[in-house]
Amino acid sequence: MTRSLPDQSLGPEWTILELLARGIIDDSEVQMVRDLLTTDTMKWGELLEQALRHKMFPMLAHQIMSASLRFDVPTNIYMHLESALEWNRWQIEVFRRETVRVAQALADRGIPFVVTKGMAFESTLYDSLGTRYMNDIDFMITPRDRDKVMTVMQELGFRPFFDWAKDARREEISSRLNPDHLPKLAREIDQPGIRLIDIDIANSLTWTKSPFDVPVEEALENPVEQPIPGMSGVSIPCFRPIYQFLFTVLHLFREAWLQKFVESGTDVGLMKFGDVIRLIDRNQNKLTDSELLRIMQTHGVTDAVAWVLRHMDETFHTHAVELLALEKHGNEKLLRSQMRSPGYVNAWSESMRGRLQSKSRGSVRPVAPAHRGS
């Protein structure tokens, strides 16, 4: 996708992160990042804090290392970035091995599944550079296999994560009330620097009581086998590109649109949009085919997808709405809405760009009384 250079009104720190999130595509962007990183007014504290908040620390580190800016960055910061990148690469190695272990166990029992999100994207969208941060490993299964998968995971040594949580009962109740995922699972391991491995297993492309959904059974048909870097002959099943795109976008919509994620401080970040931009960039032919539009219309998810892409275009100067022929979808009222609870929608006035940069997301408050949505 073509895009213009971002305006720098939010400062050099934010501009660097926006450029990295959407992916550097030409020499002018390489030079712009380089110039911004070496500007005299650079606030390193701000850059590092926002990079952490948006899970971009390893990506920022890689950019600085590969641009040979060793002597343009304060020494202690450079050394810390270097360590963080190496540690992220190590964690990805450990996660890869665990992904294969779980995938093999599920496959042995004939359970349909795919690996999603970070582990699926790291090699396909981020070139196996070790720059994509992930804090867990994500799988997708069908709702009917929940019990079988739970048994397999327990056999592999996993326990519900709320066993370790500060407030275990709160986590347990929350998990039972939202059966779009299995309870988050974790296993203690004996690896340098990594004590627990978390696994998140979803059984819906949207969420409990969502007014729309794409059936998981349909999305799991004809998965693609994706090789695991560094493990010869080993692969994991992932969604084919159309469903990879739909899941990624609907997941972003869920975390951005449901107010509970804002209140818990786990809503949308720059890298979520970065994943979507890269998915479109690398699968443009498949995503502009009429099949995607037909699937979106069949399952009533067109407005939700348009919501994400309109915010993305506005924030990152991309042209995804036009590219995917969604100009007639996702009206202004929907664009400025947020769901408080099923059927009850709030309005908010802030731009997505302002929201992403904000460090107090709790301030994304409704500007109009909640009303029952359509």
Partner: protein, 84 residues
Amino acid sequence: MDDITTQFEECLRRHLRSAKPNPINYDVELVQLGLDSMTAVAVLMDMEKTFGIRFPDDMLVEGTFRTAGRLKEAVQLLRERQAS
């Protein structure tokens, strides 16, 4: 069994904005009183603590707390089970 109405309503009012100034209508959906997915968890935990009960997994569903009336029935049932 003791009447739990006062304690029950105090518990709801601690979490539901719209329940604070008004009498609680036991037939209205709790979402209309301000219940969302976060406060639902808080209300259930507070009920467990206040009445010394534990909602079993099969009661951790939306139907249990759709209205104040349904939730009060569930709390009373669990108290009775515990007493017997």
